[in-house]
């Protein structure tokens, strides 16, 4: 790993000037603080008069609540009060998880607590408020509920059958949303195809598994009519709006504070009934209420993701050129569409993204999303990508093998060429600044495919099944207003940054982007210091507080660097300009002759400069020394959002080599390679951490992670012992390298880097495993690819 990415973006100035921090792998100070145990998480917070909470949750996937008796439980030691849906609803208005811009979505009203009918195992029924969590849990055991079990609707494949239980009677059936995308003439193109390959793939439900579970402290101040929310979320301003709206509080009087967050991965960007109930309890009681999910609650109430069955068809001509692609995707989302982002987006991404690296003139994609009596499903890291990438790349491999082409060659002749952007995905979504050819070429070079092929042959002679996989993919990052805002959701696609020079010479930066452990703080500081010409130690940073930061979207969909970072860059440049104007007045010189470096205004031609500290002191304390009419603003604020396109896409190519043990069905990933093109890298080490972490979560989806349900809708593995996330021993050596194509949408040129690993790893692992099994003429099509599935596929059990 080189420390510095040279010459990556001419708009950012020379890399060898003083204070050039963009592109350098600086150590982030936040990491040391966490290593020392200095993190301050929601559960660490103790406020005066604070009470704790716990929830009675449905033990059944589908059941009617005939009656609830809380009178015994209310007498338990330490219990302050117990609230049911009817109490909570007096202060909190219900919500509906639909958006208007993607066609008709049908989801019923949802309240924080279930009324009359519980629709998934784990749905909150009652909130017990007590002095301690233990006391609240004691009281839960004393709540008497008269349950009448109803037949659950579990299987998504039979969700729309005539005799299937309908979860919401008023909707008539279990359909939430459907969409068809069609470009060109698919039917005709398949007829003209000389070879057609097909595949059907299954992706199990899994979840995000954040190290820190969801948590909230709600503090209603009656006298000020102000609601303060300490929340380990990703989007403080979105929560501010939602809380104001549903609790009928003036939006300016809702303060959302999201400081240290122990991982989010999209799990913590949704509205959860239990958190809303805790806020309601605070409003009713007029005292701070804490709720922190335990691990069982995380597994059964944090959103799940994936749960897709997708079939696809690819038609190619004699030369291997893609003519036509058709996919049909089915997904099950639990009993409600999540609010406010809806549970349609994963399927929507599958329809948009399938086939996206390639020229495929005729394309049809049908998505169907149905309700189930399981935990609600929504957007988790790399939304839809694993499904879209896998169906595409599995079909591409099949086509290559069927017509006798090398898997790399068929990709090369079908890529949208790097010099032919702007372009469009087969589904019609605009693309620009991508580099599939360059990334694939670099991947093949560092993988040394001929050597790997040789080794595979030698292994096979010894009876060892080794396989090699490659893929190419597009990654949705930096969404524009066309993503959510256009559909009526109050989710900001804009981010803001404010930077001020203080009297001490310190520089204070605040940004609407949040930090969830990925190093946002570090890159914001690097951008500000780099653009201003100050040392890193002068920068202080405030994130995650709606009272203290500019308005903005927060951190999700890999938007922190590209959107939030650009806002910081713009604010820094404006502040720099302000400083230089003041300095030129003080120094009696033309503005073009001076610059800022090493915390001082310097004369480009040498000679005495002025430190920023001195300059600030002059402005703040001795303004009379400055010529009249000079603008004294040592603060600048800027905003940025992506204009003109729905997303700034990133692309990457990945490869991996696996060994499949024929006796045990165990899969070993020997090596994994990623070439990522995320444009300007602000801190290459953090980019690579994002890629590697993403790959690990992708390995989770591909080989380990699954929310296992029985046929009655009971989750079977809701503990960290039984739900398998890959751990240190399961992590292969991951080689990361880069191609750099800057985004033309910003000065910074950065795109997102957080989704690729998770989006691409499942496809490349599946391709490598199927390559290993190809000598036996066998394949696997269902993820996670477990030892049992391998042994079944090869006929051992």
């Amino acid at each position: 790993m080189v420390d510095i990415t040279l010459n990556q973006n001419s708009k950012l100035g020379s890399i060898d000037r003083p204070n050039s921090y963009i592109g350098r792998s600086l150590t982030r100070d936040g990491a040391i603080r966490h290593l020392e145990g200095g993190g301050k998480f929601v559960d660490d917070l103790i406020l005066p008069r604070m009470v704790n909470s716990a929830f009675l949750r449905s033990p059944y996937a589908h059941a009617e609540i005939k009656s609830i008796n809380i009178s015994d439980a209310q007498k338990y030691p330490g219990v302050i009060d117990i609230f049911l849906s009817e109490h909570i609803d007096t202060v909190c208005k219900p919500w509906i998880g639909v958006l208007s811009h993607l066609g008709e979505m049908r989801s019923p009203e949802q309240s924080p607590l279930a009324k009359k009918i519980a629709r998934w195992q784990g749905e909150a029924i009652a909130i017990v408020i007590a002095n301690t969590r233990a006391q609240a849990e004691d009281a839960i055991e004393a709540i008497e509920v008269d349950w009448v079990e109803k037949e659950p609707q579990i299987n998504m494949e039979t969700a729309l059958d005539k005799d299937t239980v309908v979860i919401h009677k008023e909707l008539g059936n279990n359909l939430f949303w459907t969409r068809t995308v069609e470009q060109g003439d698919v039917k005709k193109a398949f007829k003209e195809s000389s070879t057609i390959v097909e595949a059907t793939l299954d992706f199990a439900r899994h979840t995000g598994v954040t190290l820190e579970t969801r948590g909230i402290v709600a503090d209603w101040d009656k006298s000020e009519k102000k609601m303060s929310i300490y929340h380990n979320g990703q989007a403080p301003h979105m929560m501010q709006h939602i809380i104001a709206k549903h609790f009928d509080i003036s939006e300016g009087l809702v303060r959302v504070i999201s400081k240290d967050v122990g991982g989010s991965f999209g799990i913590k960007v949704h509205v959860y009934g239990d958190e809303m109930a805790a806020i309601a309890a605070s409003k009713i009681l007029g005292r701070p209420v804490k709720f922190v999910a335990d691990r069982l609650e995380s597994f059964t109430t944090d959103i799940h993701a994936r749960c897709h069955k997708i079939s696809g068809k690819l038609g190619v001509d004699k030369n291997g050129k893609f003519l036509s692609m058709e996919i049909n995707d089915l997904s099950g989302i639990g009993p409600y569409s999540m609010y406010p982002r809806t549970s349609a987006i994963e399927t929507n991404q599958v329809l948009n993204l399938s086939g996206s690296p390639y020229i495929i003139p005729n394309y049809k994609a049908v998505g169907t999303v149905v309700f189930q009596n399981k935990t609600p499903m929504c957007q988790y890291r790399a939304v839809g990508h694993p499904i879209a990438v896998a169906i595409t790349e599995v079909l591409v491999d099949k086509a290559a093998k069927k017509i006798g082409m090398k898997v790399e060659d068929i990709r090369k002749i079908n890529f949208i060429p790097d010099d032919q952007y702007p372009n469009k995905t087969p589904s019609g979504v605009p693309l620009e600044d991508l580099s599939h050819q360059a990334t694939m070429n670099k991947l093949l070079k560092i993988m040394n495919v001929p050597d790997l092929e040789k080794q595979k042959k030698l292994d096979l002679e010894k009876g060892i099944l080794t396989g090699i996989g490659i893929i190419s993919m597009c990654e949705v990052t930096n969404p524009s207003p066309l993503f959510y805002g256009v559909g009526g959701a109050h989710i900001s696609s804009q981010d803001g940054a404010s930077i001020r020079l203080e009297g001490s010479g310190a520089v204070h930066v605040s940004s609407s982007i949040t930090e969830q452990g990925q190093g946002t703080e570090a890159i914001m500081k690097q951008i500000a210091a780099d653009q201003l010409g100050v040392s890193m130690d002068t920068i202080r940073l405030t994130l995650g507080d709606t009272d203290a930061t500019p308005y903005g979207g927060g951190t999700w969909a890999s938007r922190g660097a590209g959107i939030g970072g650009e806002a910081v860059l713009k604010a820094a440049r404006t502040l720099k300009n302000n400083i230089l104007k003041i300095a030129s007045a003080i120094m009696q010189t033309d503005i073009d002759t001076i610059d800022i470096a090493n915390n001082s205004v310097i004369r480009k031609n040498g000679g005495e400069g002025i430190s920023l500290k001195k300059l600030a002191e002059t402005v703040y304390y001795r303004g009379h020394e400055i010529p009249q009419g000079t603008n004294p603003e040592l603060i600048a604020t800027s905003s940025f959002y992506i204009e003109g396109i729905p997303f700034v896409f990133t692309n990457s190519a990945m490869g991996c080599q696996v060994t499949v043990d024929q006796d045990t069905g165990l899969i070993k990933i020997n090596k994994f390679w990623v070439i990522e093109d995320c444009g300007t890298q602000i801190n290459p080490k953090l980019v690579e951490e994002q890629i590697r972490g993403g790959v690990i979560q992708g390995i989770g989806g591909a080989l380990y992670e699954e929310c296992v349900y029985d046929d009655q809708g009971n989750m079977q593995n809701a503990t960290m012992a039984d739900y398998l996330v890959p751990m240190a021993c399961e992590m292969p050596d991951i080689i990361v390298d880069h191609v750099i194509t800057n985004s033309g949408r910003s000065i910074l040129g950065a795109k997102g880097a957080g989704e690729a690993g998770t989006g691409g790893a499942p496809a490349v692992i599946m391709n490598a495993i199927n390559d290993a099994l190809s000598s036996m003429n066998k394949e696997v099509t269902s993820q996670p690819i477990t030892p049992e599935k391998i042994l079944k596929a090869i006929g051992k059990i």
Partner: protein, 289 residues
Amino acid sequence: MGKGGEEFIMKSPDFCYYEALSIEDAIKFKSNDLESVILAGGQSLVPALNMRLSSPSCLIDISKIKELKNITKDNDFIYIGSAVTHSEVMQNKIIIDHLPVLIDVLDMVAHPAIRNKGTHGGSIAYGDPAAELPAFAVAANAEIILMGLNGIRTIQASDFYHGLFETDIQNDEILTSIKYPILKDNQKILFDEIYRRHGDYAMAGVVANIEILNNEINNLKLVFFATGTKPEVALKTSELIIKDGYDYSNVKNMIKTELDFESDLNSNAEMKLHLATILTNKILKLMET
């Protein structure tokens, strides 16, 4: 954090905590309060409390009783005190010199943080069917030493396990130590398991106690774990191998006749049978090396 803060972090049902001063003290307490449970390393018990799967009246902490913290050698036997942690066992000179295979086995027990707290006696007494140590104890012909109101009692490890998490420990008894015979020169214990993640309970595992005479297997005791409700000795399979050697189908058929397989989340009964068969072969190959 002040007192209020400590209250906030409790999640389990209320219980009393009793720090036993001696084995006799612990026995006395336990026999007077049948709802109380022994706390050693707490690696299974504490999560169970927090998940409210268990609500004992009292936790009797035996981890500070000195007599339970020793590893000693007496002629042909090694005694491991029940409150010795896995990490302590792995670093103990007597174990390194005389029972090194146990270190390899413990390397498969969870992760270092858990091994620093989890105890030898805790794992043996808990009797998780997927745990390594109960099967190891059975294969190694260990004896479990229990102390109760009526004094000391010793039971063969193979008789100690009755069923799923069920052992022979009586209400007034405490497991004080495990007695392992030192291996003879021509004897070795081999161990293997198949797991999805390192440190997890296995999908299937085996511990074999083998005696070699003139380069041939003279005596074999195969003990399987993570296959059924308790560690199980496959006597007939062991005999079959001594007689005929390994053949996949023959061994599989024999294992099927003498073991009961229970499906779990990671492998169904059929897969466990297959893996048990594969493991038998792996053990025999290990023996050759």
